[in-house]
């Protein structure tokens, strides 16, 4: 009995696994005509999996504490699933053109499975396996357009740096094991103190995760990989992959390193500021919209750290909420980028000149996305930023909040450059014409728009996250 109930705790992973297997078999067994429905079936199955995730979740742990689940982890996995769902829909047209649907789904779902384990890990062992499971196939995704030089380059860059960072992380974990004699979060919690060996272990472990979140100075891969990878993969990397790493970071910091919060408080103080500032400064000069959003996502990562820094319940709520809002905003932007790229093959910002006159609806979505990312009310981004700042201010970090706020003004400057391109700049001769985007992209954009408009105004979502969050 207990064996089965253990498995029931894993129901999100199991249903994901089932989707994964069905699609895998479908791809192998179906012939030309059957393949026509592949995308529909994939989206439907995955949508079902996402919906099932919202069934009420119970808390518990399985496999001797290796795997832990709670309503909060279920929510985090749901957030990741929603993000993946949107990415799958946005990828439809690109996949149909490239004609390699099966691999894409299999790979992307296996990374998602890894991320689910990252979130639910109760031990560093499972966490590490999850991270590897998420990052190795990710390199395949980045190199998915393998005949394009940039995509192949992105794949290589990602795999090399991911391997390096996971090596560093493993090194850190070995120190932590040496310091505490355990890999289980529950045991380590009480054993960790500010001894040099534990602090060293922590710092090395943090570097590994910081790479995934693309925190400065571990961000150097971000712009190149984002630019080279296919747009849908970039969207996935910037939202889902980053989100999973943030969740894993929050859990480990709260559950394992709570006793040395003094140490990481100062570390995060500095890193969040540097991340925000550098991300902003580099974003200003970008000509390519994918690189632009790469730097914008780095600066957003800095804001996330601001919420993580305090280690409070309010901080955790704000962080999870921020990721949710960031997901909708960023994916809305990437949806528009995909639509424009599919139509014209262009990803430079100049392609957006005069977009308002040719494609008012896409411009509308992009405007909402950009304003939400910049933190302008009444869009969700304003609320998520405000809560992050409130969480930091609660700790008395007024100076940091102020510096971050000044940076939101800088970020507004470059976000407005996109707005300016769309609304004010005259269209070029070779401008993008009227885009007829497919049903999938429209649906995904509608979902994101609803998210941007409603998540902030409906306070229930935040209250729900707040109800299941916890402090150190």
């Amino acid at each position: 009995m207990s064996f089965f109930s253990d498995f029931l705790l894993l129901r999100q992973e199991i249903s994901l696994m089932a989707v994964f297997l069905v699609l895998f078999m479908y791809d192998i067994l179906s012939s030309g005509r059957g393949k026509a429905y592949f995308h529909l079936v994939a989206c439907a199955l995955f949508g079902l999996h996402t919906a099932l995730g919202f069934l009420p979740a119970e808390s518990g742990s399985a496999f001797g504490g290796m795997y832990v689940t709670s309503p909060l982890t279920a929510l985090m996995k749901n957030i990741l699933s929603i993000g993946t769902f949107v990415v799958l829909m946005q990828a439809s047209r690109w996949l149909r053109v490239s004609g390699k649907q099966g691999e894409f789904y299999v790979i992307i779902l296996s990374t998602l499975l890894g991320m689910n384990f990252m979130v639910s890990a109760g031990s560093f062992m499972l966490l590490y396996i999850g991270i590897e499971m998420a990052s190795l196939p990710m390199a395949c995704l980045a190199a998915f357009d393998k005949y394009k030089e940039k995509s192949a380059e992105a794949g290589v860059k990602y795999i090399l740096l991911a391997a390096l960072s996971s090596g560093i992380m493993l090194f850190g974990l070995s120190f932590l094991y040496g310091a505490t004699g355990s890999m289980y979060f529950a045991n380590m919690q009480s054993l960790i103190d500010a001894a040099p060996i534990a602090v060293l272990g922590f710092v090395l472990f943090f570097v590994g995760l910081a790479f995934k979140i693309s925190v400065v100075p571990f961000h150097l891969w971000t712009a190149d990989v984002y630019e080279g990878a296919p747009t849908s993969v970039t969207a996935y990397l910037s939202v889902v992959s980053k989100g999973a790493a943030v969740f894993a970071l929050v859990f480990t910091l709260w559950q394992v390193f709570g006793a040395i919060s003094e140490v990481w408080h100062h570390l995060l103080w500095g890193l969040s500021l540097v991340t925000i500032v550098l991300g902003n400064l580099f974003a200003i000069g970008q000509k390519d919209i994918k690189r632009f959003f790469a730097f914008s996502s780095i600066s957003q990562a800095g804001f996330i750290l601001l919420g993580v820094m305090g280690g409070t319940e309010q901080g955790m709520t704000a962080t999870v909420y921020f990721v949710l809002v960031y997901l909708f905003s960023n994916l809305a932007a990437f949806g528009v980028i995909s639509a424009v790229e599919n139509e014209s093959g262009r990803t430079d910002i100049a392609a957006y000149n005069g977009l308002f006159r040719s494609n008012p609806k896409l411009t509308f979505v992009m405007t909402l996305a950009v304003f939400s990312l910049a933190g302008i009310p009444p869009f969700a981004g304003f609320f998520s930023k405000f809560f992050i700042f409130a969480a930091a201010a609660e700790q008395g970090e007024y100076l940091l909040v102020f510096l971050a706020l000044i940076n939101t003004v800088i970020s507004l400057f470059y976000y407005l450059l996109v707005i300016r391109a769309m609304f004010i700049n005259p269209a070029e001769e070779s401008a993008v014409g009227k885009i007829r985007s497919g049903g999938y992209i429209r649906l995904s954009l509608a979902l994101c728009t609803a998210g941007i408009l409603l998540v902030g105004l409906l306070s229930g979502i935040y209250e729900y996250v707040g109800g299941i969050s916890f402090g150190i």
């Binding site: 309010q314 709520t317 304003f371 302008i376 009310p377 009444p378 304003f382 405000f386 809560f387 700042f389 409130a390 201010a393 609660e394 008395g396 007024y398 909040v401 102020f402 706020l405 000044i406 939101t408 003004v409 507004l412 400057f413 407005l416 707005i419 300016r420 609304f423 004010i424 306070s459 935040y462 209250e463 707040g466």
Partner: protein, 488 residues
Amino acid sequence: MNILSAFVVVPLAMLLMLFVCRRTSQIRAIMVAGASALVALAAVLAALFVQQRAVSPDEMLFVSDLVWYKSLNIHYTVGVDGISVLMLALSAIIVFTGVFSSWHMPREYFMWYCLLAIGVFGFFISIDLFTMFLFYEVALIPMYLLIGVWGTGRKEYSAMKLTLMLMAGSAFLLVGILGIYFTSGATSMSMLELAKQHIPMLHQYWIFPATFLGFGVLGALFPFHTWSPDGHASAPTAVSMLHAGVLMKLGGYGCFRVAIGLMPEAAHELSWIFLILTGISVVYGALSAVVQTDLKYINAYSSVSHCGLVLFAILMLNRTAMTGAVLQMLSHGLMTALFFALIGLIYGRTHTRDIREMGGLMKVMPFAAVCYVIAGLASLGLPFLSGFVAEMTVFVGAFQHTDTFHRVLTIVATCSIVITAVYILRTVGKILYGPVQDEHHLHLSDAAWYERISAVGLIIFIAMLGMFPYGVSELISQSLEPIIARLM
């Protein structure tokens, strides 16, 4: 539904209706109907308020409270006192006249215009700091597109400068608001509740300057006023009207209600720094207006000077001066809107705003020219027009301080009256009288009917405020009671 929320709901409904409508006649119908509804609402509210005031001793009336984010004590709380009622009325009048001054604009323009209106009205009805800040930012962002897309001249530069400077101001503001909430230990962000709490002096020393500066940027506080001339000069007519007429008042109103209202001790201690800055604003703005040759720049600098006077009066921290400050907000709002409406009208016909290229317009377009003279006279403080009442009250209030510092500053600020006369009379003389400079100007038409509505509407209110100021100043002075009590 609370009558106050209607001020937000009406522009929101207009915005949503604009999404569906495409025909020009439909758009105009929506805008005129909605703007009229807002004016009517403001009138009804004023009447109800006077009635209620007589029986209720509460600081804020028509209060309604809706819990929004429970765990953070964020509420949607609305309520008004006499000052907010007047500000709402001013905003409604200017939104109304602004619609007529932008008669030929496309649908998207009006959509952003409605969003701007939502922000402005929402700001004046809010008494919860979070909601107030939210609406404040809602009002800022449409400006970028309104100026950037439909503006003239160096519009992209101006739009960007304006947006970034105001957002930088709001960065100060947000830190200040978080500081107020967390250091006061209050259990809500409502200003009524916060006013009862005491913020530790140590924190007041940084929160007061932060909030005052944050709102002061919007109130064109020297040296953070530089967005204002460029912004106003590049903006389309109705946006200049709304911006100088209402949006800059958000700054003054916020300084008064948040910075001074919640931190009276720090206001006493630190007012001298800002008094010097506002003194500079008043004189420097007026002097700059004297040397400008672009009609819009003249008025923009004149706005800097007049809005400087608002902040100057608020910082005098006594009842008479503060009453004068609110009167000045109303008066300046009305007359600047009139100025910008007329400048838009003239520019639309002559295609130049350079006063050296114009002359003798009185013969060509007598209606517009007479209105311009009236606006000018109101601006330089002619009795029986609104400017006189406001400036008189301000200076009387300022002179109640007997120490040298305040005396000297007051005398310096009073000089601005003379300088104002210089630039107003110079402009009027140059463009309206004398020979016609350009023979093409001889064939220009006078104001069209919709432009007349806009101008006449504003003049009526300017004259009313000038001739019957008693009721209004009584209303203001009554509403100042709680703040004055805290300041003493």
